[in-house]
Assembly symmetry: C2
């Protein structure tokens, strides 16, 4: 039969409750007994039964990761975040469960309610773009379910992790300006996503700071997809006054821009510089490789989950961790062409 907590207690010569205390890192156990109990657990390869723990302790040791599978960021982004969350959960002996949602659906909140009622996660991790869906946040607070966010649009007294995307976007555009570019275009991501707004704001900030005029024709709406990048770039390259550099709000769109450059017979970076945002695996596989902003998605998922777990353990209350960006300059950007 399986080893139970009671068996460990007998072996260590203590009561079950003491073993329970050790298991849960509670106070009021002398170091000596703690050690003895730990040794017994180790020796017997004791594995606590999560169902029994949940039932008696009113906690599930489960955290749920919520994401939008309708219009989400690139699926590779979510996979990486998920990987990080999973790693943090494993380290703390929690389980992770996934909950795809559709922000647009009318039963969004009902689906969340069902998740809580059915599985009682001890907390949830929110990913963009649902990090900022007010009705969700409100409901979670009503239900008393703690949450941590990855890249929330609003900061404040929130658990989670964020990068200064606006600053990063600005740095990206400043890099282009340093290379002599004056006609710099931007391809926007899905409207209303925090990411889209910040990256656009950073672009504008850099343009303004350099005293360049912002030509409306050089700011084109995209949708975070390769195809939308191609479309956007076709508009840009058809202009009489063609931009010499294009900053796309993510790598997939930037890849589309490079593709379109090929269609127009433009060499990257000789005729046009292209850069993106995210540092997806694809960005390194292209030739020339894409200049982009590294966003450590996996790490961010891990940190968000860790903040949540810290909060759950009541050890300090957790916080919004700021993570630095890093500009990856690669072959797709270069000095501006002499003239036109």
């Amino acid at each position: 039969m399986r080893v139970r907590l009671e068996d460990v207690a007998r072996k260590a010569g203590v009561s079950p409750k003491t073993v329970s205390r050790v298991l849960n890192d509670e106070a009021n156990v002398t170091d000596a007994t703690r050690e003895r109990v730990r040794a017994a657990m180790e020796a017997m390869d004791y594995r606590p039964n999560p169902s029994a723990r949940s039932l008696a302790g009113h906690r599930s040791f489960v955290i749920a990761m919520l994401y939008d599978n309708n219009d989400n960021p690139a699926s590779t982004y979510l996979a990486e975040v998920q990987d990080g969350v999973l790693e943090a959960c494993d380290a703390h002996r929690y389980s992770m469960m996934l909950r795809p949602l559709r922000m647009r659906d009318s039963d969004f909140i009902r689906r969340v309610d069902a998740l809580i009622a059915d599985h009682h996660p001890d907390g949830v991790v929110l990913t963009p773009p649902i990090t900022d869906y007010a009705p969700l946040l409100k409901r979670l607070r009503e239900l008393g379910v703690p949450y941590a966010s990855v890249s929330p649009a609003r900061r404040g007294k929130i658990l989670g992790v964020a990068m200064d995307e606006q600053q990063a976007a600005r740095a990206m555009v400043e890099h282009l300006i340093e290379q002599g570019h004056r006609r710099i275009a931007h391809v926007i991501g899905i409207a209303n996503h925090g990411a889209s707004r910040w990256r656009l704001a950073g672009y504008r900030e850099a343009i303004a700071a350099a005293g360049l005029s912002e030509d409306p024709a050089w700011v084109v709406q995209g949708a975070f997809t390769f195809a939308s990048g191609v479309e956007a770039a076709r508009q840009l390259f058809a202009l009489r006054k063609r931009p010499t550099a294009v900053f796309a709000a993510n790598d997939d769109m930037a890849t589309g821009v490079m593709w379109a450059a090929g269609e127009y017979g433009l060499k990257v970076p000789r005729d046009v510089s292209v850069c993106g945002f995210d540092d997806t695996p694809l960005s390194r596989q292209l030739w020339p490789a894409l200049t982009t902003i590294q966003q450590p998605s996996r790490e961010m998922g891990k940190i968000a989950a860790e903040q949540l777990l810290t909060h759950l353990r009541g050890q300090g209350s957790g916080r919004l961790v700021d993570i630095p960006f890093s500009l990856q300059v690669r072959g797709s950007t270069g000095v501006a062409p002499k003239d036109t």
Copy 2:
């Protein structure tokens, strides 16, 4: 407080055990009582407590999805399979948990043991390439943990889902032959993956059936990545006797081949036809769009999980479901160039 099974029993005027029987679809309940109990559950919005069910019933209502995150297929593939598994689990009120593994690591089996000991999944879903890792299958049988496989290399008395990839690859190459191609190259996937072997075998079968000779120089090793596709294509396009068509073992490599074609000034499909396998989202975003084999990954994940769940419920024992492939002819393949 929460509604418990006992509350439902009282409301329906039966014993707790009867409610339990209804909950678990057990026999020995008259239709009338069953209906009455169901109505009470509905009216009270009863949600069984999974921990209590697990503890008393010795089942976890959890199934684990195992995957290799070392050299796995494209991450979008796994995300889709995962999505399907999740859907099936939800429908049956099971939870899904994820378990990334590294097939090469020495503690592979220990990690599996830990998963079972810590979480007691009622069953596991295996994804390529670990569907065919013999030590794993052996251990799972020893532990008495049922499993279902997505695209296992070996058929036989196995639960899961599979597509005839060899047949699909053959159909792909036959399509090229019909277009007049005679010099057809193949870029192989990661060695030893079932997928790589089948696709190569299908290629050879078609070549042989058409009475064409197989030139060793036209069969190049790749690794399922975009970059490996670029590399492989460079070798092919540098040949004096250049192939007029390239069949890559997946879409990522095919995309690499198209990229390399651009480098060599070759127009697709005028100068060279390119095709892939998987029908990833990317394949439709390219221009020209990629001719490929549609593999319904999401559906396959769902079916595998359903087979497993059917088996767990003891309703029929589940089987290996064969799923049809479909050839997606798009712009990247066309008639062979006149000559060279």
